[in-house]
């Protein structure tokens, strides 16, 4: 059978015509070949800049201006009929028919990719009338059904909603419905789960799998979430610097990768079962022309002279498994991941890098117990935060009675889905919002009592590391200025500042050449290190990390996590690490707090909470984390609905979504009660093991 899509030796060169930069060219793709069959989900993975999106764009004939493509992108309008057309040579009319109907692109950022001035329903009916020839009335009916299929509740109302009225997950679902509404042979999903929390990401991926299984569409899933790709995809293609380095069955390639680059990627993924991440230094090169040597050689621990002078050809490694490498690795990566010194020493240089500096094992906090009781740097007591709506009348109750203590030297993880109040908690402890009730004490001062200059002084004691590393630095200021900012606020004399900035920089593993650069000249990883250096330079009592890695590539993420892990040895300050990615929290936090709709539903030592979750919500979160390793070991639990439909008014906030719900849950608000080492707000905890065994749980 002819594949739906076969890309043969596709190379894309982009000529930059910027003034002052003329004549510069970038080899975005070099001799890429890949196939997608109908009914198959193919994953395309690699770091950003590796050419993933360029592949997607070339399939729909949307290459950026100034680019020249060679090779062939063959597409079969009717798979199996044997007739393939080259997208690159299509004329305008053919391209118009091919886009949408042949291959439909599902864009990365659904909020940006939905037109803000047209209702979601109209945007969908536009696709239906165009590609499926429906009349408007019939199309509206079909649109309602499609919305229902992708899991949008109350589809009739959502049809008339404008994109800005949709939540992130909802917008992503609409985007998928738009792409499937074109009834394409091939569905291309460009990072569909980036920025979504685990439960939603799982649901979105299920939709894509569904499209392949029931509608026999081909699906090309572009993602840097390797664990999800391993779970959902049939085959995977790994791109590095615009070239395919490894391709094969997704599960096997990502669990036992052969190419050193794939191994690097996999080792960088934090695991919920507590494997430490292994960071690889360096970054992907931007090539000016097709590589003549192995592009990964400079970062590779196995590279020899052959790798540096000749480009490796693609060789068969297993059934349907191809690797472009002179030294494919057969040994099991899992051993390497477990962090035993023997395999690390025998492994790549990456492992030795991670050795002494690596994150401490999950059992770490028990080891060096300080003699004296450490001082409490932050204490939040029963805090409520309400965002009032502009013209009176109600408001959004973001935190509903949260208590939290952070001692010096301690790292507390805060997890939960989007919209559960994690960021509000960060704003609260930094004194950026005032609690409607309750107390926040930072370094011995009551934050809610003081105002004006004294409050600004106190804010220096707590520092924030932001989610968007480049956006959180002023574009007009150099890295040196940015890092020195808290010192300037403290009134540190200029002479002393330079020295302290240099010290903070050295601690981040950055050299001084980046000091005069501005944010747009920094990579994401460098910018985030600058952000962390800025937070640390003033010697704060508390550092709050608000999802510091979620905007970064896996390999960079691993580097940053390593930096953060090194900081956890610092006994003079407390840390709060906020993340919706549970696996990142596991590596180096001492305690973890699980937030749900503005309440703490479970808290306790990280090892205890992760291996033996008491609250159904925690268990559900852990169950939905995709994993390359064993994943979450205990019985799994699945929530029945999306967050937005849930209600926090009376009783247990989770009642609407919990599969174990009873009438008592709906009626009684739940308090945190101690169970062993951790505390959970669920009265059914004692009977939980029995309930889970009794089949009350989902898959």
């Amino acid at each position: 059978m002819t594949p739906l899509l076969s890309i043969e030796n596709l190379s894309v060169v982009i000529h930059r015509s910027d003034p002052g930069d003329s004549g510069r060219q970038i080899a975005a793709l070099s001799n890429v070949s890949l196939d997608v069959n109908a009914g198959e989900v193919v994953g395309l993975v690699g770091e950003s800049g590796g050419g993933k999106s360029m592949v997607a764009r070339s399939i729909v004939g949307l290459l950026p201006p100034g680019s020249r493509a060679t090779g062939r992108v063959l597409f079969a309008a009717r798979p199996g009929a044997g007739e393939q057309v080259d997208v690159l040579t299509m004329d305008r009319a053919a391209l118009a028919g091919h886009r949408g109907r042949g291959a439909a692109l599902c864009f990365q950022n659904p909020r940006g990719a939905l037109s803000p001035t047209r209702t979601a329903g109209r945007q969908l009916t536009d696709r239906l009338t165009t590609h499926q020839g429906m009349a408007l009335g019939r199309a509206r009916e079909a649109a309602r059904e499609l919305f229902e299929q992708v899991g949008i509740r109350d589809p009739g109302r959502r049809l008339d909603a404008y994109p800005h009225e949709l939540s992130g997950g909802m917008a992503q679902r609409v985007m998928i419905s738009l792409a499937t509404g074109c009834a394409p042979g091939l569905l291309i999903a460009d990072e569909p789960t980036t920025g979504l929390d685990v439960t939603l990401a799982r649901e979105i991926l299920r939709q894509l799998r569904h499209a392949a299984d029931t509608d026999r569409r081909g699906v090309l899933l572009i993602s840097h979430d390797l664990a999800s790709v391993a779970e959902v995809c049939d085959r995977v293609v790994v791109l590095y610097a615009g070239a395919v380095v490894e391709t094969g069955p997704a599960g096997r390639v990502l669990r036992t990768p052969a190419h050193p680059y794939t191994r690097t990627l996999v080792a960088s993924v934090p695991q919920v079962d507590g494997h430490p991440v292994v960071a690889t230094p360096g970054g992907m090169p931007l090539l000016a022309r097709a590589p003549t040597a192995c592009p990964f050689a400079p970062r590779c621990g196995h590279a020899d002279d052959t790798c540096r002078t000749q480009h490796p050809a693609t060789t068969e490694w297993g059934a349907g498994w191809q690797v472009a490498c002179y030294h494919p690795q057969a040994e099991n990566l899992a051993g390497n991941l477990a962090g035993s010194p023997a395999t690390q020493a025998g492994g790549a240089r990456t492992a030795t890098q991670a050795g002494p500096a690596g994150p401490r094992p999950p059992a770490g906090p028990a080891a060096p117990v300080p003699a004296a009781v450490p001082r409490t740097v932050l204490s939040v007591e029963d805090a409520h935060v309400v965002y009032r709506s502009r013209f009176g009348g109600g408001g959004h109750h973001a935190l509903r009675g949260v208590s939290l203590q952070v001692a010096a030297g301690e790292t507390v993880g805060v997890v939960g889905e989007s919209g559960c109040g994690k960021s509000t908690l960060a704003r609260l402890v930094l004194g950026l919002v005032r609690p409607a009730a309750g107390r926040v004490t930072l370094a011995g001062h009551d934050l809610s009592r003081i105002r004006g200059r004294r409050l600004r002084r106190l804010r220096i004691r707590a520092q924030l590391v932001f989610q968007d590393p480049i956006g959180s630095l002023s574009p007009r200021r150099t890295a040196a200025d940015a890092i020195a900012e808290p010192l300037r606020a403290q009134g540190v004399p200029a002479a002393e500042r330079a020295g302290r900035v240099a010290a903070a920089l050295a601690r981040m593993g950055l050299d001084e050449s980046i000091l005069p650069r501005r944010p747009h000249e920094l990579s994401g990883g460098q910018a985030q290190r600058v952000g962390i250096a800025r937070a640390l330079v003033g010697g704060p009592d508390l550092v709050v990390f608000d999802e510091p890695t979620s905007a970064l590539d896996v390999t960079v993420q691993a580097q940053i996590l390593q930096v953060v892990a090194e900081l956890t040895g610092d006994e003079s300050r407390g840390r709060v690490f906020i993340s919706h990615d549970l696996a990142t929290v596991r590596g180096f936090c001492d305690r973890v707090v699980v937030l749900y709709l503005g309440r703490v539903v479970e808290e306790g030592p990280v090892a205890e909470v992760f291996s033996n979750p008491r609250h159904p919500y925690t268990r559900a979160l852990l169950s939905s984390v995709p994993s390359l390793g064993a994943g979450f070991a205990g019985p799994r639990l699945e929530l029945v609905r999306d967050l937005e439909e849930a209600d926090a008014a009376t009783g247990c906030p989770l009642a609407a979504r919990c599969p174990l719900v009873t009438d008592r849950c709906r009626a009684e608000p739940q308090e945190l009660v101690g169970y062993g080492a951790s505390r959970a707000a669920c009265w059914r905890v004692p009977e939980m093991p029995e309930l889970l065994r009794g089949g009350g749980a989902g898959a």
Partner: protein, 336 residues
């Protein structure tokens, strides 16, 4: 419902704004050098004549007294008595506002349509010949002085081609148009007077063209820039990548998004247009508001100046209100 509340709130805002305007103009106009009484009396008048005239217009009263009287008049819609003509300012104003509003509104409407059509056309052909020529032409129109442009249009349209009526008057008196609002075109429609409608349209053509050409450039630039932004946006790319036909892309995904920024600018341009009418009305002998207000100012005709400033201020508030409402209708993200 929400819209109505918004409009009501903004209309209430009109009261303090206008009150402030009244106080400021009342004081400022009296600070200006020059004496309105002297300008009507002529060189041979004696001090006694002047005092008598002052008493006739209430100008001998203390300032606070004059102000209270003026406010009391305002409450009943009486804007005072023109010192220059002796007529009621309210009725003079009613006569003058209609023609000018008609001129400016029509010119703005024409300019908006032209700017939208050409701006979007231009953006879709960005950096090609058509785009460049449109932008150069718009800029040229913007750079020409309006009075000169008006004279050239008269020369060509009336003297040479003879297509348009002579620049005097606003409607052919032989059509016996009954004035209702003062805006001749509207009156012709209201009274069902066909010949008058044609005649008024003919008289309007050249001044409207003059004003439109002068104000179209900023509108066109704005539409083109917004349209380019939309064309390069991810949302438009996504729609295009899903193979939607050109017509649908243009109507459904481009126009509305590209126009959302226009109302605010159009409101500003409207104000500029009111200012420009002074010269355009002069060139076309248009007995309108601009000329009337200018003469009032030149002769220090206190009630006329105060009334015209009041009308302009109210006009501004109302026009910006309309602009905000239109903006909210075009862009669903705007909450009012």
């Amino acid at each position: 419902m929400r819209l109505l509340r918004f409009v009501a709130r903004r209309l209430l805002l009109l009261v303090p704004v206008l009150l402030g305007v009244v106080v400021v103009t009342f004081l400022l106009v009296r600070v200006l050098p020059g004496d309105p009484i002297r300008t009507i009396l002529g060189p041979n008048a004696t001090e006694a004549d002047a005092a008598a005239a002052r008493a006739r217009y209430g100008l001998d009263q203390p300032l606070w007294r004059q102000f209270v009287d003026y406010l009391r008049g305002l409450g009943t819609g009486d804007l005072g008595r023109s010192i220059q003509s002796g007529g009621s300012v309210t009725s003079e104003l009613a006569l003058r506002v209609g023609p000018t509003l008609e001129l400016v509104v029509l010119a703005l409407a024409v300019a908006l349509v032209v700017a939208t059509v050409l701006g979007i056309w231009s953006a879709r052909r960005a950096h090609r010949i058509g785009d460049h020529s449109i932008r150069v032409l718009a800029l040229a129109g913007n750079s020409l002085p309006d009075f000169w442009l008006g004279l050239v249009l008269i020369l060509v349209g009336y003297s040479v081609l003879g297509w348009f009526p002579a620049p005097s008057g606003r409607v052919d008196p032989d059509t016996h148009l009954t004035p209702v609002t003062g805006a001749d075109l509207l009156d012709a429609v209201l009274t069902g007077n066909g010949p008058a409608f044609g005649s008024a349209l003919g008289y309007l053509a050249l001044p409207v063209a003059t004003l439109s050409i002068v104000i179209v450039a900023p509108l066109l630039r704005s539409v083109r820039a917004s349209a380019l932004e939309v064309l390069r946006s991810e949302a438009y790319t996504a729609a295009a990548a899903h193979g939607l036909p050109d017509r649908l892309l243009r109507r459904g995904y481009l126009v509305r998004a590209a126009l959302s920024r226009l109302p605010a600018l159009a409101a500003l341009v409207f104000g500029f247009g009111i200012g420009s009418t002074v010269l355009v009305e002069y060139v076309f002998s248009w007995q309108g508001f601009g000329q009337w207000a200018l003469r009032g100012l030149l002769f220090r005709d206190y009630p006329v100046v105060q009334a015209s400033v009041l009308v302009i201020a109210a006009g501004y508030v109302l026009v910006f209100l309309v602009a905000d409402v239109v903006h909210a209708m075009l862009d669903p993200r705007v909450r009012i």
